[in-house]
Amino acid sequence: MNWVNAVIQGMLLGGQYALIACGLSLMFGVMRIVNIAHGDLAVCGAYLGLVLSSALGVPVWVTLPLLLPAAFLAGMALQVLLFGRALRHGVLAPVLVTFGLSVMIENLLQVAATSDPRGLNGGALALASFHIGSGITVSWLFLTAFLTACTVLSCLQLLLSRTSWGRKVRATADDVDTARLVGIRVRPVFATVAGIAVATAALAGVFIGTIGTFDPLAGTNTLIFAFEAVVIGGIGSLWGTLVGGVALGVTQVVVGEINQAYAVLAVNLLFLAVLTVRPGGLFTSRQAVRELQGLGAPG
């Protein structure tokens, strides 16, 4: 029963990884930006939740209607003021800019909020759980995080595949120069994508802060897991990101069941193994690669 429990807990944990990773995947897929500050932006979301929920005296969930739009706007502003400008100076500039942003966020948070670990007020949901059979206890909070991740990914998938906004995003991701040429206004597309990425990061940050604790430096660790989930799943595939997150979570909890000391090591070894065997990730098919190359050749 321990193993079944470990797999279930691992899957639920994986949902959190996928939630934090989907924004990273989206920004890389569309803008080709590896956002090194993504984890720190999630931590900023947690701090914003802390400020709002203690100011209003309510559980952090109640503040989401304020917090998520604020994060969306912050993401748009970052894209317009910072990332967009960096993109004009080659592929390396955005990496340096987001790295600098990461360092700045971590230090500003330390100055503003000290290094003390904090937790968020999750209300009654945070402590509630239910039992499946004997020996398996599922936390409502973990289950909510997992279901939220699935919902966010489904909504993103629908937006991308069914709306005219999604069409523009995918066209821009395919070929930004041609997108401009056929009349797509690329800047608003990029700004909304960055807004969504930061909003999902902030949402993930709220779950991280409610489930565990966070401090100003928590973003770096968060980033590594998110990054591994994206790469394992295959860049640009949202469902792949979910599978990648679940693979990480299950590995971590199952190995942790054997020996807690090796749990995170096992996660990184899994990442290394996928990177060696399938560098494109599990869900980037050869077909997709061929299709991308096929358009270049005449005939």
Binding site: R167, A171, L181, V182, R185, P298
Partner: protein, 240 residues
């Protein structure tokens, strides 16, 4: 109100650079409403650069582009498309992960007009009508070229710029595409066509502009020039 004497497109003294390399030197040309202009010249003569500059993908260092009486030299591509200029780029440049229909819909993104509805487009290009749900990257070269033209038409252009649409295609497919173009012309569209095949270009167009190393070597109505004159301008031989 469009004045009949004012050309639809008027280009004056364009200098265009790629970094330090100058691609166009003082290029001027004008295109009359309803006419088809063939833009010919050897590889590297600046034909694609000229089309991209008209479409707004390339900014000139000096000179001006006037369209329908307005100076659009500094306008971004989406403004030009909403005013009626659409480009079919060299090499088709379809969006590989989008379906045929999505590629066409993206072309209509910047415009409000739906005078080229999907149904009308599929009517003009029967070869892609049955492939709407297929990814653009799975089509044959000719079908991809048809989608590229359809994507430009979705913007309901009054000026259509076509860059090397016959490149790498079977003669029969090229024939079919040019038949569609002549249909567009009789519907009142103004065309600028870059074409390697001189004979085809001269058959399909009223006017001819020949570029030589970034300069206009010859600009005349097709009816008033001989093939020999065009070839001379093309290779820069014995220019007076």
């Amino acid at each position: 109100m469009r004045h009949p004497d004012v050309p639809l497109l008027e280009i004056a003294d364009l200098d265009v650079f790629y970094g330090d390399f100058q691609a166009l030197f003082g290029v001027s040309m004008s295109v009359t409403q309803g006419c088809a202009t063939a833009l010919v010249g050897a590889n590297g003569a600046g034909k694609t650069t000229l089309l991209r500059t008209i479409a707004g993908a390339q900014a000139p260092v000096s000179g001006s582009v006037r369209y329908d009486g307005l100076d659009i030299t500094a306008a971004p591509p989406h403004r030009r498309i909403s005013r009626g200029i659409a480009l079919v780029p060299e090499g088709r440049k379809l969006f590989p992960s989008l379906t045929v229909e999505e590629n066409i819909q993206v072309g209509a993104a910047a415009v409000a007009s739906d005078s080229w509805s999907l149904e009308r487009i599929y009517g003009a290009f029967p070869m892609i009508a049955g492939r709407r749900r297929q990814r653009a990257s799975t089509l044959s070269g000719g079908e991809q070229q048809a989608v590229a033209i359809a994507r430009a038409l979705a913007a309901a252009p009054s000026l259509l710029l076509l860059d090397e649409i016959s490149l790498g295609l079977a003669p029969r497919v090229v024939e079919e595409l040019y038949e569609t173009l002549s249909g567009l012309r009789s519907a009142g569209a103004t065309l600028v066509i870059v074409e390697q095949d001189l004979r085809r270009a001269m058959d399909a167009c009223d006017n001819l502009v020949c570029l030589l190393e970034g300069r206009v070597a010859l600009a005349a109505p097709v009816a008033s020039v001989s093939a020999g004159e065009v070839v001379a301008a093309y290779f820069g031989e014995g220019t007076p």
